[in-house]
């Protein structure tokens, strides 16, 4: 096994497993789970997150083995556990490793995500995307991000799809393309890694909003209004973080938002839907098996808007609806207050 043709996937959640299965069509794959009992059950039952495991997949809880045996590793864990995973892996990583992550979340340099309040202010300098976190916590420089309309359930059902691999390095894009491409999966490249990451992360805010629209039966016009105007807010925030607006028009931008905001199978969508039906956010979070990234993302986006003075009424109203018990009707009235402004201001 020392020729290192294997590929590593770190995280055996639904998306991690789906990606492992895609990769296994071309290569041998090590699939990491930090829980030893989970590894044993994956190895025995050949199932993970409700998906059948490809015969080319070897489950493992040995992160050092993955770093030793694989040049290319896909970390796909939730953003709140991301830093810990990279820190565990860091002693085994070298500058010739390639890390392509598939996590749709943000992290703060300083602690305090839980303490964020409605008026909290967060500077762009305090926010990290997952690729920046990898750079900060490890010696790896060849970092990539995988984003696009990739609903795990559909990939698991072997439906056709495409993704974007973004990296500053051609080599990373090429490797992503080589390893992932199959008759049912297309791979596009981008150099704007920050833009692609942010599009994938921030769209979850609108997925929650879209779930609320469905839960309240507000109709498709309202959904389109929410998504379009919310998208403009997201683009303005992303520019502050160094993104290129063009990425928001691509597969990781518009592509992902169309898939996520119209699919009840999206975790973030279902959070919104259940909120609209009167459940409390804590109860929803406790009942979910996997993290809905959009919840923390709204907190950070709201803090960023406060710090940089960016007018984001949709993000603000969603924040209040989720964390401040804002009455839904009041929220809608607030959003529908007429404002005389031009339509497309962000380009």
């Amino acid at each position: 096994m020392s020729d290192k043709t294997s590929v590593g996937v770190v995280g055996s959640g639904s998306f991690g497993t789906a990606v492992a299965n895609l990769l296994a069509e071309n290569s041998h794959v090590f699939l990491y789970s930090r829980r030893a009992d989970n590894v044993v059950s994956m190895a025995n039952a050949r199932m993970s997150s409700g998906q059948q495991l490809h015969p080319n997949i070897t489950p493992t809880d040995d992160i050092g083995l993955i770093a030793k045996e694989c040049y290319v590793i896909f970390p796909i864990v939730s953003s709140d556990g991301f830093k810990e995973v990279i820190r565990t892996m860091a002693p085994f990583l070298r500058p010739d490793h390639i890390l392509i992550h598939g996590t749709k979340g943000l992290a703060l340099k300083k602690k305090g995500l839980e303490k964020l309040k409605e008026k909290s202010r967060i500077s762009n300098r305090n926010v990290l995307t997952m690729s920046q976190l990898i750079r900060r916590e490890s010696v790896v420089v060849r970092v990539g991000s995988m984003a696009g309309p990739n609903l795990a359930r559909e990939i698991a059902q072997e439906m056709p799809a495409a993704t974007v691999i973004a990296s500053r390095f051609d080599e990373v894009i090429h490797e992503g393309h080589r390893l992932l491409t199959s008759p049912r999966f297309q791979v596009y490249g981008s150099y704007d890694i920050i833009g692609v990451e942010l599009a994938g992360v921030l769209k979850n805010i609108l997925a929650i909003g879209s779930g609320i629209v469905s839960g309240l039966n507000l109709g498709e016009n309202a959904r389109a209004l929410l998504i379009t105007k919310g998208w403009a807010e997201i683009i303005k925030l992303s520019e502050v973080l160094g993104a290129d607006v063009k990425s928001f028009l691509g597969l990781a931008g518009i592509g992902d938002i169309i898939a996520t905001c119209s699919s009840p199978s999206s975790r973030n969508f279902s959070v919104g839907f259940r909120l609209a039906k009167g459940e409390k956010i804590k109860a929803i979070q406790t009942s979910m098996e996997e993290v809905a990234e959009g919840i923390n993302t709204i907190r950070i986006a709201n803090g960023l808007a406060n710090f940089h003075g960016i007018h984001c009424p949709i993000i603000k109203t969603l924040y209040q609806g989720i964390f401040e018990d804002l009455n839904v009707q009041t929220g809608i009235e607030y959003l529908m207050r007429s404002r005389r402004s031009m339509d497309v201001e962000f380009l």
Partner: protein, 564 residues
């Protein structure tokens, strides 16, 4: 080492790391100057042909170079060779003639290309003369010392003792021991910030004062127009960098020369900002061309030995910190004029007379201005910090094998796109280091406080309306200035604690009255109109808002404005 008969002023605080000049890399490389030139010409041609594989590519590259050069020669500089027009007309005519003789065209075009490269390389490559170096090393401190002693009788504040000498007027701080240690076995690439035309002289002096061998250094062509400077620079390892020539052939020749020099072990120095910072803001955008040559040299050094035992290239960020920039007025005027239209900016060859430069230097030293050269922590070519032995370290202090950066799937590979990203990473690391090693001098603190107070009083963040402020409004009470300075000093001390900036001892002392008096006295002391001046009423007045902006800019980007 200075001779025994010169006085204390010229004594070296740090012994030479290589005592005998005959063993300096710059000396041994310059002995084979002709061979070096030939090798640079050959490789430049080879590189250009590799990048332009077809006949059409070569033709287009030549045509572009001729087109750009024909425009350039219309506005000649003093340093330009007298036959520039004739040469380029000749090249153009030959190219036109070739159009009608398709036979053998490719060979003819290659020959033309070689002639152009030959011309460029001879223009770029400098020389090193031991005698001139020895003379300069004795003469420069002696001359400076005379200037300083001449000014001694003037009633300037003496802060560093009565005995004035060069070492006391120019402060050398930072990671000097580390640089000295690593220069013994490794290759140093020093990258200073660029504020003034005298940087080339002062940084050269600084390098010599910390005991390093002379370096190959890239100096702007305009400096060579000063005969007296050119005489020394031509013999002390300076090579010419002409920012006007933007054609691919010239850039390739320049880069090839720098790469070869570094690969052959020559310590090098160039200004990565490319030009003097017009606004006086610490450089945040660097030119990647010459930086890339340091990376390319490291890659070659590793490949040459197949990764076994290789020399390491260390990058040393250096910040030059002046409390008084001689050409401040000209610089800030150019900055304001060119904000938003930098692309169309044509650099001029101002400061082009020996007299002017000498006058500048005289003013600089007699003005008793604060000047500090800060050597930052050495880094490897990827921007990683290195320890005393030169091992590259990661964030957790673990050693990194830098050969891995050039490997793919276990093999050392050549990937120019990858290297270009590494160069960007290095430039990002240098920018961070520049900011950390910038020294907050008293002059900067007071200018920052005053300018921000004017902005606040004027209730505007619009730069131009503050600059146009009527003179009667450009006055501050000492108390309000003191208050603002106090907050800034407090914040600077926090930033220094976090190693985000360096603070001058006078600022750090937190004696606000001393600081204010000292800084007002020194700030732009030789400008015709003073940025800040005490009035008889005891208030503080600004005579020149643009100059105040210029000195204030040195502390931009640290978030200090929130504390005024």
């Amino acid at each position: 080492m200075a001779s025994d008969n010169t006085n204390n002023a010229t004594q070296r605080p740090y012994p030479r790391i290589i005592p005998d000049i005959d063993n300096w890399p710059i000396y041994t490389l310059s002995k084979d100057r002709e061979q070096l030139i030939e090798s640079v010409i050959d490789e430049t041609l080879e590189n250009i042909l590799k990048k332009n594989p077809t006949e059409k590519d070569i033709h287009d590259e030549l045509a572009k170079a001729v087109y750009l050069e024909k425009i350039r020669v219309e506005r000649p500089w003093k340093t330009d060779a007298p036959d520039e027009k004739t040469f380029w007309n000749g090249v153009k005519n030959k190219l036109v003639q070739l159009e009608s003789h398709p036979d053998n065209k490719i060979d003819e075009e290659k020959a033309i290309l070689r002639t152009i490269i030959h011309r460029y390389v001879h223009e770029i490559v400098g020389n090193f003369n031991k005698g001139t170096y020895n003379f300069a090393e004795r003469f420069v401190p002696f001359a400076f010392n005379r200037l300083l002693n001449a000014s001694h009788s003037r009633a300037f504040t003496r802060l560093f003792g009565n005995k004035r000498d060069l070492l006391k007027s120019i402060h050398l701080i930072g990671e000097i021991e580390q640089v000295r240690e690593l220069a013994k076995d490794g290759i140093i690439v020093a990258v200073p910030t660029h504020s003034s035309n005298i940087d080339s002289i002062t940084v050269g002096w600084g390098i010599s004062a910390i005991g390093l061998p002379a370096m190959f250094y890239g100096a702007g062509l305009n400096l060579f127009s000063v005969r007296f400077l050119a005489y020394f620079m031509n013999r002390l390892g300076a090579y010419r960098v002409d920012r006007r020539k933007k054609n691919a052939v010239y850039l390739e020749a320049l880069k090839t020369y720098s790469t070869q020099v570094i690969t052959k072990g020559g310590h090098s120095l160039f200004f990565p900002g490319g030009t003097r910072s017009r606004s006086n803001v610490v450089e945040s955008q660097l030119k990647l061309g010459l930086l890339g040559t340091a990376l390319e040299a490291q890659r070659r050094l590793i490949l040459e030995t197949n990764g076994q035992s290789f020399k390491k290239v260390y990058v040393v960020p250096v910040t030059m910190n002046y409390g008084f920039v001689l050409e401040a007025k000209e610089l800030i005027d150019e900055h304001l004029k060119n904000v938003g239209k930098e692309r169309y900016f044509v650099p001029s060859d101002k400061s082009s007379s020996s007299f002017k430069i000498l006058k500048f230097m005289y003013r600089f030293f007699t003005a008793d201005a604060d000047f500090t050269i800060a050597f930052g922590k050495c880094m490897d070519i990827f921007g990683n910090p290195v320890d005393k032995q030169g091992n590259s370290l990661d964030h957790n202090g673990n050693m990194i094998d830098i050969r891995d950066y050039f490997r793919s799937h276990g093999q050392l590979t050549n990937d120019t796109q990858r290297d270009s990203v590494y160069t960007k990473m290095l430039s990002e690391a240098i920018v961070v280091a520049f900011k950390k090693n910038n020294v907050a001098l008293p002059e900067h603190v007071i200018a920052f406080a005053a300018f921000k107070l004017f902005q606040k009083k004027h209730h505007t963040s619009d730069l131009y309306s503050v600059l146009r402020m009527a003179e009667e409004f450009r006055e501050l009470t000492r108390e309000e200035l003191k208050q603002a300075v106090a907050s800034i000093v407090k914040e600077l001390s926090k930033l220094e604690h976090k190693e985000e900036i360096r603070v001058d001892p006078i600022v750090a002392a937190e004696d606000l009255d001393l600081l204010i008096d000292y800084a007002i006295k020194k700030l732009g002391v030789y400008h015709q109109k003073r940025p800040l001046l005490k009035t008889r009423k005891g208030t503080i007045k600004c005579q020149d808002m643009k100059l105040l902006l210029f000195y204030h800019n040195r502390l931009e980007g640290y978030g200090l404005e929130k504390h005024v």
